[in-house]
Symmetry: C2
Subunit: 441 residues, 2 copies
């Protein structure tokens, strides 16, 4: 394996570790607030002495404050807090109300192959795909998961030969999603094993190829690269939505397609994803995995995601009092356009970095022709800087090094989805970096 394994856990500890080592201030995400707090005042780790009621907790409002110049800007994770503001604008239209007697049973619909799938969530998924036209749903099984991370593991379990003498190889073309290697290998499964960059895979043996399109980290559209017999393709389409990339025609029609609310609507805390699956036996085994892993999926999350996906559709059909410029994908398309323009201007000003260029394409959803404006920026340090992540860390910008994606350390992945004031602070800081010598920390 050519990449150093790492996860959000490690990223999390990196932030804490940095703060502890340097006495820096860091951000507190708790309760939707965004404020500075001194690490040394912390008590009651993993506990909380507040006696605030749930309703008071709910009434807490998001109160942005501009990060101080000295503050660490964390763009390591793809935490999609950019979307908070849009959902505040929708007001009560996206509120869900859940009485205490709901969701006692394990079962959502005993008639369904995926019996823990809430029918209303399935309806909302089908409605949204039909509106956007990004994936075929007719004749597909829907399997719901606790985020697409769980669904990815469900697929590995479902398509691995159960009685093979050795684990099946799991590959993806570099740069690939940095968590794939560790998620595949952390339990040392006898069913499947990470085998690295798909372009280097030469064995004449069964394999699973992960195709992330648009790709995380670099935002490019992807197709399978191995293209041999005995291969199973898994398409992770988390970012195939019209705020990020043109939707082409006809709708995608792969055997196994994965989606998540984290990247489509921004509700990462809801931990909800779905798979569209052509083959009944694959869907059945994925369902079996999720039963063995977590006996189904939070029904509260499914109810809420159903509501949110329906409101996205409503906003484009001008139902529920939405006007045209409040439509979800329109609003967030324009936001992403502004952010990419702002980032490219900062890169231009600094002269120390470069960004990928994307081909333009016609989006059959919006009718607009545009170049992709991905959820991550795949930034390259030009000139003499070999360790781009370390260089930016010296400037108190936390990013994820290219080495975790099976690529060079000259690249870093940067989240494009923080809150407005963090993004502004980031581009200001990037534009001000004009010398390759390290900042003092």
């Amino acid at each position: 394996m050519s990449v150093e394994l790492r996860t959000m856990v490690l990223g999390h500890f990196l932030v804490i570790s940095l703060a502890l080592n340097a006495g820096l201030l860091y951000r507190n995400y708790c309760g939707g607030e965004h404020k500075s707090q001194n690490i040394f005042s912390l008590k009651n780790e993993c506990k909380n002495s507040s006696s605030a009621s749930t309703m008071a907790f709910l009434e807490t409002k998001f109160q942005p404050s501009k990060p101080a110049l000295s503050e660490v800007i964390d763009l390591d994770h793809g935490d999609p807090t950019m979307y908070e503001r849009y959902w505040q604008l929708t007001g009560d239209r996206t509120t869900v109300v859940i009485p205490g007697w709901k969701f006692i049973s394990y079962f959502s619909d005993v008639r369904s192959l995926c019996w823990f799938l809430e029918p209303e969530f399935a309806n909302a998924v089908v409605r949204l795909h039909k509106l956007v036209g990004n994936a075929v749903t007719d004749g597909r099984y829907i399997v719901v998961g606790t985020g697409s991370t769980q669904l990815f593991q469900a697929v590995l379990y479902a398509v691995s030969p159960p009685n093979a003498s050795e684990p099946i190889s799991v590959v993806s073309a570099a740069p690939f999603y940095s968590s794939y290697p560790q998620i595949t290998d952390f339990l040392r499964s006898g069913l499947y094993k990470w085998a690295g960059d798909a372009r280097e895979f030469k064995r004449d043996a069964p394999y699973i190829e992960l195709v992330t399109s648009p790709n995380n980290p670099d935002g490019l559209s992807r197709a399978a690269v191995v293209n041999r017999d005995q291969g199973v393709l898994v398409h992770d389409l988390a970012y195939y939505w019209p705020q990020y990339t043109p939707i082409s025609s006809p709708p995608t029609d792969h055997d196994i397609m994965l989606f998540t609310v984290s990247k489509s609507t921004g509700h990462a805390g809801t931990r909800l994803g779905w798979a569209l699956v052509k083959d009944r036996e694959t869907a059945r085994k994925m369902t079996e995995f999720i039963v063995l892993s977590t006996i189904g999926v939070s029904k509260e999350s499914q109810l809420r995601a159903a509501k949110i996906l329906h409101v996205v559709s409503d906003s484009h059909e001008q139902r529920g009092g939405f006007d045209e410029n409040e439509a979800f994908f329109e609003h967030n398309y324009h936001l992403m356009t502004r952010r990419w323009k702002q980032l490219r201007a900062a890169v231009e000003k600094s002269k120390l970095f470069s960004l990928p260029e994307f081909p333009t394409g016609k989006c059959k959803f919006s009718g607009r022709t545009f170049a992709s404006q991905p959820a991550f920026a795949w930034l390259k340090c030009e000139g003499e800087t070999e360790d781009c992540e370390g260089f930016l860390r010296g400037h108190k910008v936390l990013t994820r090094s290219g080495k975790h994606f099976g690529e060079s350390t000259r690249h870093v992945r940067i989240s494009m989805l923080p809150r407005d004031e963090v993004f502004d602070q980031f581009t200001d800081r990037l534009a001000s970096i004009t010398s390759s010598s390290s900042a003092s920390t």
Copy 2:
């Protein structure tokens, strides 16, 4: 391995399979309703053509109907629908309201070791344990999981030696929870391996012993049985609540204790459990497992569980307008007492079965002295019947055979937590079985 592996998946298909084979009616759990439906009219598997709005969905009320004499009574799973009625009684006091902009971020509290744990849920857990006195929380780490099933796997990952030459043995004294073997082995992990009945474990090697107390399936209080060096104990205390069993003094103080809302308050659909963990490194690795498995836990579920656990505490502190006989554990203690009395009367009448007897103990929570009244009945067929599960299936009562728990087929496990009308129907039917010859099906 001495037991046949099986899971809720298989149980689910068994119901469908039975219905398909025999043309029986079966129950539809969808939307909280409980009604008969012909299996042959099913369409749109895994999809739903209803266009009902989320609010209409929420307004659906539980409308019980008495199962027909010909109907299959499914007591195979421990689906805790008994609790629905209590939560209906509490009305608006347990309702949660979630606006669309909540839970965008992955993070709940970046200061916490378990950074996806909602502080308000942690508060509610600590408050309830302090009220009931069933477990020590001071100085413990709280790790939240997608049900205790995920937490069980998180523990296996956390305490298995990462670089051992062979997987660590996982054992539990028979009869043990029927899902332990398959959950341990389904990914063929190189870290841990199911090794069967703890009483038969003779190897001088590291091991993990699962101690479920009160035990699933037989309801007895349990202590570790291997008691050798190199052992890690995991205490599953899902049923250690005062509606089921006397709470003894002092509060339990084991290294790793697992709990779940499914069995304490009945909210199985919420998929939420918690672990109380003494050792920081174990809690850190459990957190790491949950990040790799699902990148945290549904925040909607945590918010709702926080509300529900707080209302349970309120009901005993006579806050929020509860009077004494509406207190959660009191109400459900009396319900369990009635159900066990009713079951023992039916067994007495039939003369073909027997049930365990439980020692009495003083409950320091209620002050009452009583014998356990578990969430499952561990029923034994007396006389010539060797296959108790098959015998009861002949009478259209679905149960889980003792063989899945590492015990004889003379035993079956029966859920004591169905809705009232199902439980009444079950005891009526059991009392009417007076001959060991199979019913015609």
